[in-house]
């Protein structure tokens, strides 16, 4: 039996993706976090990490390099380890799993920090503006006597916003979409769905088709947030 454990150990060792760090080196990552009114956001969590592949099927994990919080002036100054090689360093501000997370702000990811490292082992990030997050109501309302079933696919920005600093990583999407799929049944004149949290003032993308005309191609429509009614409305 022990030889199987030995084999398993060797095998796991071969496929593991350990990160190597530079000897005698630390990075200093600095920045200022403000809200949409340019006011400093104190005590907000900041984490710096690299993504590593942990095994088969592309599963990934994070290797934290350093983490902390902003001070009373919204400034942060993190000391981190310095990974060797072409690792992609990401800073994440206001991550939802961290102590101090503020639900009213979107999580902000900055990807590719290594490209802005100065010669003096400093990565000075500019002022980082957190966007407000809103919960909203999405309403579908019938305006005629149609009884077709409406199949809709709602795409929206999640609360996480990404910004890529390294041009070589431009294939990473600026936004990640989430999808909400549902139907408006023939007996319903109206349906409402609470969506969120979303980046406030964002647009939604609605793709829809009707059952009475199955050959209808999927139609896309952009919906604009109405701050007065705190809602997105789609009228059929």
């Amino acid at each position: 039996m022990s030889k199987y454990y030995w084999f398993l150990g060797v095998f796991l060792g071969l496929i593991s993706c350990d990160v190597d760090y530079e000897d005698n080196k630390r990075l200093l990552i600095t920045g200022t976090v403000v809200d949409e009114d340019e006011l400093p956001v104190p005590e907000i969590p900041v984490a710096v990490f690299i993504t590593i592949y942990t095994g088969f099927k592309g599963s990934t994990d994070r290797e934290i390099l350093g983490e902390g919080k902003t001070d009373t002036n919204g400034n942060f100054s993190l000391v981190t380890l310095s990974p060797i090689g072409t690792r992609i360093i990401t800073a994440e501000i206001n991550e939802s799993v961290k102590v101090g997370y503020r639900p009213k702000y979107a999580t902000y990811s900055l990807i590719g920090l290594k490209t802005v490292e100065a010669q003096n082992a400093t990565i000075a990030l500019r002022t980082l503006k957190l966007e407000n997050v809103a919960n909203s109501i999405f309403t579908i309302r019938r305006l005629n006597n149609s009884t077709d079933t409406l199949y809709y696919d709602l795409k929206a920005n999640p609360i996480k916003k990404q910004r890529v600093l390294d041009p070589a990583l431009s294939s990473v999407p600026f936004y990640e979409f989430f999808n909400l799929q549902d139907t408006l049944l023939p007996a319903q004149n109206e349906t409402s769905v609470e969506i969120g949290p979303l980046l406030a003032r964002d647009t939604l993308q609605l793709d829809y088709s009707l059952s009475g005309n199955p050959n209808t191609e999927i139609i896309s429509q952009k919906l604009v947030y109405n701050s007065e009614t705190d809602s997105y409305v789609f009228e059929l």
Binding site: S16, D18, V19, D20, Y21, E22, D23, N24, K25, R26, L27, L28, I64, L65, G66, E67, G68, L78, V79, T80, L81, N120, A121, T122
Partner: protein
Amino acid sequence: MPYVQIFTSSIFPNALGSNFLSEAYIVKQGFMGDILILFDNRLYVGLQGIYNNADVENTALVGQFGRSKIRHHYVQGGYSFLPRAKKLGLTAGLGIGYARYKNRKGSTKFFDDGFSIMTNARLSYRLSPEVGLQSGIQFSNDFMNTDVAPELESFFKNAQTLYFSVGLAFYIGD
């Protein structure tokens, strides 16, 4: 006729000042070993090794890793205030050497290193011609090679430690 003294000690380190070691680490008890060659009644030269571990308590200050093995190796020389025939011994010495902090994060290892100087004083009491008890105090200053941002240099470039030690002394060839 030169003779040899060997000291084995438990050490109780205390990080001093405001630096990465004192602010971010919890330094643990360790081991110190000395081998000294006394050429006459008063002067000696020798080697010293210090081995202790430390846990990283404040990762925001030094980076996200868990613990370090701290190693010091010195060449030392000094003076004995009391003649070798006495049961009581009192020495003071200086040393220059190498400091290495072997850091560990999960299964990954990396290190910080630099050169180090130290000064010490030791009191010993001879129980028999071969064996005695000894206790000492030692101050060391590590000058680290760590490459950091200019505003962090004073924090990362120096580390001071005060060691209290107690242990056995062995006398060979006296």
